[in-house]
């Protein structure tokens, strides 16, 4: 939190355009997709897992929305796209929790598999989306706030309640802290691990919804590499890769820190290649300081 405040103060000195409502809302819209993915990722990482397939599941859902919208209404396209995303998450969950495949390997496989499905579905050519209402979803405002940002905030609120106030959420932390102890305490470890991957998949489908509507095109390369941005946001937000420690609130802050940094570098006209260096350094430095303060 302190890091974000310092960053915001520094940013407002570096550019007078930073602290304008329009710019701040712009940041909130820009971080929406990765922010949503990162929240799903937080659930998985809290159980001491990892999900490398969220970018590919996003891409798969994007082409399904686009393909179905050619002939069907939103009322059909959106639920089906989400269902496919959740199904991909379910396969991840079954692989990890029932077959005992390490999360890294299972979701690495899904990363390739879901991306392959997206290419197969489109035959490699992007599908344009002409549905007006669907376009508004990603580009319109509600109460003066971009709809993608509202979707992000809604997912954040629901996730925070699930993690802190339900038995399932409490158990997610317990599984990440000591899976065997959780099992002996009667936590349905296998079921909950499956659910966690279904959440990550479903949330990737929601991020795909935002992506497809913002760009109005169903391209099979959508979301490539986003899984690493999501992991970065989770880690900068203070969630331990060793499980059992962290929160979606922290992940949201992590998302904002990375987003604000990118924004200020843009506003001050820093070379995009150099921006990559800053982002890389930020991730390492942030985690270094957190691991030090967490230890003592």
């Amino acid at each position: 939190m302190a890091a974000l405040i310092i960053l915001v103060i520094a940013a407002s000195f570096l550019s007078d355009r930073f602290l304008t409502p329009a710019n701040l809302l712009n940041i909130l819209r820009q971080v929406a997709i990765v922010g949503i993915l990162a929240i799903g990722m937080t659930f998985v990482i809290l159980t001491r897992g990892i999900d490398l397939s969220v970018g590919s599941i996003l891409g798969l859902s994007v082409v399904i929305y686009a393909g179905l919208l050619e002939t069907h209404s939103m009322a059909i396209a959106i639920p089906l796209g989400l269902l496919v995303a959740m199904a991909a998450g379910l396969v991840n969950g079954l692989g990890v929790a029932s077959a005992g495949i390490p999360p890294f390997i299972m979701t690495l496989g899904m990363l390739s598999f879901a991306r392959g499905l997206a290419f197969l579905y489109t035959g490699g050519t992007p599908i344009p989306i002409l549905n007006e209402a669907f376009y508004d979803l990603g580009n319109d405002y509600l109460f003066g706030i971009p709809i993608p940002s509202l979707i992000l905030l809604a997912i954040l609120a629901v996730s925070a309640i699930i993690l802190s106030l339900t038995a399932f959420g409490r158990s997610v932390y317990a599984i990440g802290s000591n899976e065997e102890a959780a099992r002996l305490s009667g936590v349905p470890v296998r079921l909950y691990k499956i659910i966690v991957y279904v959440i990550a998949g479903g949330v990737s489908g929601l991020a795909g919804l935002v992506y497809a509507s913002q760009l109005s095109i169903g391209t099979p390369i959508a979301g490539q590499g986003y899984e690493l941005d999501a992991i970065a946001a989770v880690v900068v937000g203070g969630t331990s890769l060793f499980g059992g420690k962290g929160s979606v609130g922290g992940t949201f802050l992590g998302t904002l820190i990375i987003g604000v940094l990118a924004n200020i570098l843009n506003l001050t006209g820093v070379d995009p290649y150099v921006q990559q260096l800053f982002k890389g350094a930020l991730i390492v430095v942030a985690v270094y300081f957190m691991s030090r303060s967490g230890r003592s």
């Binding site: 106030l165 339900t166 038995a167 409490r170 158990s171 065997e180 959780a182 002996l184 009667g186 059992g244």
Partner: protein, 495 residues
Amino acid sequence: MDKILLEAVALTKAFDGNVVLSGVDFTVHAGEVHAVVGENGAGKSTLIKTLAGVHRPDRGKLLIEGVETTLRSPRDAIAEGVVVIHQELSLAPHLSAEENIFLGHFPHTRWGLVDRRRIREHTRELLKRLMIDIDPVRPVGELSIAQQQMVEIAKAISFQAKVLILDEPTAVLDESMVSTLFDLVAKLKTEGIGIVFISHHLEEIFRIADTVTVLRDGSRTGVSKVSAIDQDWLVARMIGREFPIHDVQVREFGSPALEVSHLGLRGTFDDVSFIARQGEIVGLAGLIGAGRTEVAKAVAGIIRPTSGTIKVFGKAVRLRSPNTAARFGISYVSEDRKTLGLLPNRSVLENATISNLARFRKLGFLNRSLERRYVKGAVKRLDVRMSGPDAEIRTLSGGNQQKVLIARALAVEPRILIFDEPTRGVDIGAKSEIYSLINELVRSGMCVILISSEMEEILRLADRIVVLRRGKVAVTLSRDEASENTIMRAAALAE
């Protein structure tokens, strides 16, 4: 048999003013098997560690082949030819026997490459000499535990070991493996190697050892040629002191709460039967590896038995998971706090309530104030000392962690509570509090199953004691029949 390889004179060692070894003399001759026996905490492992260079004695001296020597590290000891074979073996499982034997001192060809041919020849020769029958090129991870032990012993011999210390080598072996190991030990004797043999199984002492040293409370209470003594002689010197009278509380026992009949798990335990009634404490005694924890875990739904039945309050049940067991009112406090108990980076509160979150819900959501109320009550009842319910549990002492885990077990409102080594690694204050809690629980009608390796604990608390030996019930003793002597005999001796 004459040459003295290793001689320790009046070894004394204290930790934080606590004397764990006091004036112990110990001698190993060439070609001799010298056994060391004693209860847990008698000083056996301190003696071994001092001989192996892990600890340095506060007083006393060590002579190796007549020369006074100071061992600064295990490395020094190995260089002097004193090698310990630990229970946990230190082999690289993916490497073959020959690679393990030469690990760290591979011979080279003149091209600087590892000389595989020389390794193979040396290994075959060594294994043949020791009459060890294993495939030297198979990864050792695929060998049986006994064969792995032999590889480790062969490795020690290839290091020119003169004194081999075998630390409870038979604890992990079954009967046929024990015979093979003893054949190897006999072979080593003829090679002039001195062997120090640690075992809890007294009958093994009479099978293999030439000399035996008995330790009790850090002192040597006896040393003799094995041929001159019998089992009574050993047991008397191991126990020694008079035992304090049990805290006998006359209680009425209720109806049978737990009936275990002919319970078995292939390769682990077999035909285990006992009954525990409401208000009764039934102790499970036996040596490490006798199957006590496994029986308890089967009753707690953690592992599934392959035969036999379990009845809870007269009803036959199948305990598929810890959850099912909890539904039938069975709760388990594990012996292994660290790997099976603690959620290390979560709070005391979360650690205490995780076993029964349904109890702390209102309208589907967890209710912190309900949780707090439960934890507050438990903390007061068990006298847990901590900074607050939100403190991470790993910041607490071992005794206080244990109390929180007991609170967790009590959160499911059990009628049968299994304590597996409830006072392991806790201080004396916490210990007496845990005892009085157990007494309080049985007075209110709870059925308690107690596993303990501490004789004093099991004698003090248990109303009835089921002694297991190598996975079978050796004997069931009433409070009047039970003594350190009768338990030890049943647990460690062959009929």
